[in-house]
Structure formats: C-alpha cells, structure tokens
Amino acid sequence: MVSPLNLLLKILGVDINHFWVLLDAKLKIDFRRAPNSFQSAGKKQTLIKQLFIYAFLGAIIIVSLYRISDLMLQLSVFFAFLIVFEGTILLTEFTAVLFDDNENQILLPRPVTSRTLLLVRLAHITVYMSNIALALSLPFAIYLAISHGLLSVVFLVAVILCAWFTLILAVGFYMGLARFISAERFKDVLNYFQIALAVVIMASYQLVPHYMENANVETLMFKPVWWAYLLPSVWFAGLTKFITGVGTSMDVILTCIAVGILALGSLLLIRALSLGFTALLSESRTGNAKDAKPVEQKSVKGWKNKLVALLCVSEVEKAGWQFTMQHIKSDRKLKQQVYPMFAYSLIMVIAFLKPEINDFSSYIAELANSSKYLLFVLTGFFGTIGISVIPYTDTPKAAWIYDMASTSQRYHIQSGAIKAMLFTFYLPLQVLYLIPIIWIWGISVLPYVFLGAGLSAVLAILLVRIQANPLPFSQAREMVNKGEQTLRMFLGMFLIGAIIGLVYLVSLTHVAIGIVLCVLLPLIISLSYRSVRARSIR
C-alpha cells in the first residue's frame, strides 16, 4: 500500500526512491558530529539547546497574547509572529541549505530530477523549521490546552502547515526571481534582498509593537473586514477554529483559502517553478560575470592609504586592515551578517526614542532636556558587532598562511582587521549620529558622546582579547557556536550598559572631567589595541 506521503510525492512528480534516500543521507549527515569540530556538542545537542531557547521565547510571547481576549485575534497575532519569525530564520539560516554549492557538485551529475532535488531540500529545511515552529508554539499550545482543550492539538497541526506555507512562499519568491534575472546575478540579488528583508523584519519587530502599544488590546475584537481574507495569519487562525468545531462561516472560507493556497502553492512550486532549479544551481555556481572582470587596482597614493599608514603601527597590521577591507567588499555572507547591524542600530534608536510625529516640536523640546543622547551611544554599539564575525569564512583552509608566515606580529593582523571594521561600520554610524545629537542637544553634550563612543570601541576591542577570538577568516562558518555567540552578545550588552551608566555619572559632574577623559581616550584605545597585538602565539 502506498503511504499518503508517498502518494503526495507522486502527485507532485517526485521520484520517491530518490527522495527518501537523499533525505535519509542528509539527516544522517546532520546528526553526525564532525570529528574536528571545535564545538563540544554535536548538532543534535545544539539543536536541542536552540529548541529550548525558542520555547522560552514562545513563553515570553504568551505574556503579550494573554492580554488579548478574542481567540481569533490571539491566533492571528501568533501566526503573524510565526510567519515573520520563520521567514527570518529561513532567510538567514536556510537559504544556504537550499542552494548548497557543495551538494550541487555531488548531485548535479546524477540523474536526479529538478523536482526531486528541490523537494528534498524543502523537506530537509521543513524538518528544522517545523521543530523550531513547534518549540516556539509549545507554550501557547499549553495555554490553549488549558483555555480551549482540543483546539491546541489542531493549533499545532496548523503551526506545521504555517511553517510549510512560509517556506513555499519564500522559495516561490526565489524561483520567481530567478526567472527574471540571470543565474549568475542571482546570488548577488539574493544577497541584497536578504539584507534588505532582514532590516525590514527587524524594523517591524521593533516599531510595530510600539505603535500598537496604546491600542486597548484587552477589549479589541477581531472584525471580519474584507482585507482580513488577504492575511495568511488570519487563514491559519480560521483553519484552527474551523477544524476544532468552534468556527464561524468566515472560518470556513478562511480554511478553504488556507488549504487551497497551500495545495496550489505547493503544486505550482514543485511542478512548474522547480523545472529551472538545477539549471539555476549549476549556472549560478560556475562563476559570475563580475568575478570575470579584473579587480580595479586603485591608486596606492589615495587618502585611504595615507589614513591606513597613520592608523596602523606595522606593515602586518596594514595587511590585516587591507585584507579585511577586501573581504568586506567581496564576501556576500559577511555583508549579509554585518550590513543589517548598521540598520539595526538606526532602528533601535527610533524604537528607544519613540518619536511622536503628531506633536514633534514639544517632543524634541522635551528630549533636549533629557540625557537620551546616550541612547545613540548605546545603539551605536551595534556598529561594532561586525568584529565578532571576522574570524569566520567559507575558506578557512586558506588560513594556513598564518602558520607559515615568519612573523612574530601575527596578532597585528587581528588588530588591523578590528580597525578596518570599526572604520567601515562604527565610525560612519557615530558621525551620522552627531547630526541629530548636535541638533537636539547642542555641542555641550559632545564630550560625553565622544567618551561613550570611545569607550564602546574600547570595549569591542577588549572583548576580542578577553574572548581570545581566532585570527581573521580562519574558522569555518559552520563552526560558529550560536549559544556561545548569544552569551557573548549578552556580555557585551551588559558591559555597554555599564559604560553608559558610567558616562551618565560623568555627565552629572563638571564638564572638565568629561573633557579630560576624552583627551585620555586615544591613549586608552591605543592600549587596548596593544593588548590585542601582544597576544602570545600558541
């Protein structure tokens, strides 16, 4: 007897044997710990830890959802959150799995259909996305079990369907995009799209709740307006209610839309859009038109080179600077990790300051009497986060050069890389922030702004030393330990909070103290760089 899943695969035009053998191999590989891994735990344990964190996040969400009394609204808000969250994870973590270059080399010479290859990759991603979605939804499911009984089981099924919907929506978009641009340009366009979307999602996360804050959610009821039928989160809310038997006539329509869109979307993606998938994979990995062009060699006498000479203390440090600058320009994944940070900082400032558009002049006047300029210093710290990704690359084997280089100044490369990162991402952000700071608070607060910004840079530099970060571009990206990275981020945020507190205390004293400390800043920064350079070579 053909199982329902195999029947579905057959309808979708997938080779069942190929599908299962490939999925089995992929999962087997995922759960085998790499013998040379720097991580102490295998992927399975890492995944379990991550699922706990997601469940914790889900518990936090309940606090907001608990305030909403209307079930339909509660479910709609949750599914909206789920779609956005899963979409973000898909873009940042799983796009590489979908277009896995390494695996393309293995599978493209074999007789595997485009459909099978695409569906195997979708299924592989779905395994993880469903786990994440279920972990996130578990606390809310428990809440629903207590308040609505059986509905919670249907809710969990809807959560998996919602994860699948997010996946086909994103992949359908990718495949649609591939029809309009050349395969060679695809990865570049995708990269910029990912950066832009990450920023938009972050902005909506931070800003939308603020503008909804004043709404009286306790008494807010779901209204069956026409545009509600266009919202995917509402479809899944309606589906949950309808299957449980507590639905209205509107929920019947919403369920039909959800099921119809899922079925049609899957069919369209797997049967029609998938046809160009292998062509896209093969052509996009064979080189880029841009890569074929010789790299323009700029004049060595440019102002930037003079600046590098001024800022770097040795030739090795200069090399570290230039090496990092070249990576920033050409490494897509580095751009994807670092560029959004710049935007996040801007978004966080807006989220913290909560500008009142309706009464802007009195809002600004009120702001000028506060010490909220320190919030710019606080969020400016995001500009330093790029430093934490410097050690990672897709080509860690190239780092053999560090072992072979006959220099005792190996860590000058690291200090040069930090300087390049701060110059490219941190300094422009701080300069940009000077405009609103001077406009709102005037120049009298500048000593404290400089002090805060300078000490933030010192903190970023010292964190590299304290955490004994590896040399630039010497570690495989998959070696990034997400748990450890989160802990480091928390440590950084705790310390930056302490710095802001310190600067605030200085601002309460005589301005001369602030100025004296500012004068001492170059020395403190210089000493912190020296500590990075002085690291012993093991």
Binding site: N17, H18, V21, L22, A25, K28, I29, R32, A34, P35, N36, N102, E103, Q105, I106, L107, L108, P109, R110, P111, V112, T113, S182, A183, E184, T278, A279, S282, E283, T286, G287, N288, A289, K290, A292, K293
Partner: protein, 261 residues
C-alpha cells in the same frame, strides 16, 4: 547502430553578459567513437572542464548541438546522465558518510537494485584496496582515498561513457597504475573514456586519440603519432609548441631576474 558515442557540433559557451562576457568555448566540433580513450588536454582556462560539465549535463545553457549515444543532450539530460559516469577533480563527497553509505546513495540515484549496488560496491572497493575502509567515515580519509571513492562513484552504474577530469589528483603511484589499467580494460569492453588532464605522460600512454584545445578551440586532434608528424617529440613538447608554451619557456632569463635583488 551508430558507432559514435559523442557528437558535438558548434559548441559555444559564455559566462557573464555585456562587457564582462567571457567566451569560454568557441565552436567545438567533435565526433568520438565508442571504445575510444580520448585524451582531452589544454592549458589552464582553455575550456576543458566546461566541455566536460556540458557533456555530463551539469551545465545546461550552451549553444550548439550535442548527441550522446545518439540522443540529443538538450531535453534528455536525465536519460544521458544514467548512461555516463563522471569523476571530477577534487569533487565534493558527503564526507560524514561511509563509502558503503555514499555508494549506496549514488547507486540508488541510478535506480540500481540494492543487491547490485552491494555487489558492485564490494568489488570496486576491493579493486581500489579500499574494502577495509568501507565502513569508516570519509572525513577521516586522505585526499587520495577520497579520489578513489569519487572514481568508484563514477563507475558504479557501469557507464557507457566515463568522463574523468584530472582523476589522478592525489593518487599514489600504485593507484595511478590501477586507474590506467582500469581505463584500458574499460575501453576494451567498448566503453568510451573522455579523459581530461594536465598529466601529459599519462595521456600520451593511454589515449587512442588526443584532442588539444586552447582558448576554447580545438587546435589539434589525432593519435599521438599523427600529432608527432615524424618529429619524435613528446606530448609535453608538442603541447608547449602548439599552445605557445615553447616561447614562454625561453623567458627563463626573465625569471632569473625576479630574485636578483
């Protein structure tokens, strides 16, 4: 029934667009008979690997016509992939798997029965003296051991045509002898071997026919003796002469000056 296994007419391939367009293959015309061992040679960037990838159905966009075993490649790439084997240079493997697991996966993708996969895996691993490593994970293997697995994966479906792109990369001398012997035996069984390499001595010894490409065009095609034209030159010397390497060799004086500081 035709004796031609590969027929290429007016093959052109470009990467990029506009000013950045790189024309890699510029009108290749070839006809290759069954049972021939073709040595496909050329300088770096001449278009060897691109030709092989197109013939194996990995690169799907190209201009021109290609027939493999009498079947047009365009639109039939899956059918053709079932009839061929491909051994890439330093190709990727699922390294967390064991050879047995990996070869089982590859065999299944060729729709082979589990029994046949098991039988072939066992024989081929034994031939390449890898049987004792059959259940070890491949991420612990040396480069040469991984290359052997790539060769076995290229052979597991008993292909009519075997494409090899620098297959001897990382292999020790004994393994090179094994591969050379294997290629000769496969050709005797009527299989076509398309061997792309930089190793002139191996190409010279095993090839029935040598095709030399440079800058995306075929600049020489024939048996080793035909290419020699009574000159007694080695293939390496012929290669240098035909691709301009001879004149570059005369620039050794310029190289000597590099370290005169």
């Amino acid at each position: 029934m035709t004796d031609i296994s590969i027929k290429i007419s007016g093959l052109n391939k470009s990467f990029g667009r506009g000013a950045a367009e790189k024309h890699v293959l510029k009108g290749i015309d070839l006809s290759i008979n069954k049972g021939q061992i073709i040595g496909y040679i050329g300088p770096n960037g001449a278009g060897k690997s691109t030709t092989v990838k197109i013939l194996c159905g990995i690169l799907t966009s190209f201009k021109g016509d290609i027939e493999v075993m009498g079947i047009p490649l365009r639109g039939n790439d899956l059918k053709i992939k079932k009839m061929i084997g491909y051994v890439p240079e330093n190709g990727a493997l699922y390294e967390a798997l064991t050879p047995n697991e990996y070869l089982n996966l590859v065999g299944t993708l060729f729709d082979m029965s589990p029994a046949l996969i098991g039988e072939r895996t066992k024989s081929l691993l034994a031939y390449f003296e890898m049987d004792q490593h059959a259940n070890q994970r491949m991420d612990t293997f040396s480069k040469g051991m991984k290359q052997k697995i790539l060769i076995i994966a290229g052979l597991i479906n008993n292909p009519d045509i075997l494409f090899l792109d620098e297959p001897l990369s990382g292999l020790d001398a004994n393994s090179v002898i094994l591969v050379k012997d294997m290629l000769t035996r496969l050709a005797q069984q009527g299989k076509t071997i398309f061997y792309s390499s930089h190793l002139m001595d191996v190409v010279e010894k095993i090839s029935d026919r040598i095709i030399l490409i440079d800058d995306g065009k075929v600049i020489a095609d024939g048996t080793f003796e035909e290419l020699q034209q009574d000159s007694k030159a080695s293939l390496e010397q012929l290669f240098a002469k035909l691709t301009g390497g001879e004149s570059r060799a005369n620039e050794s004086v310029a190289f000597d000056n590099v370290f005169k500081d």
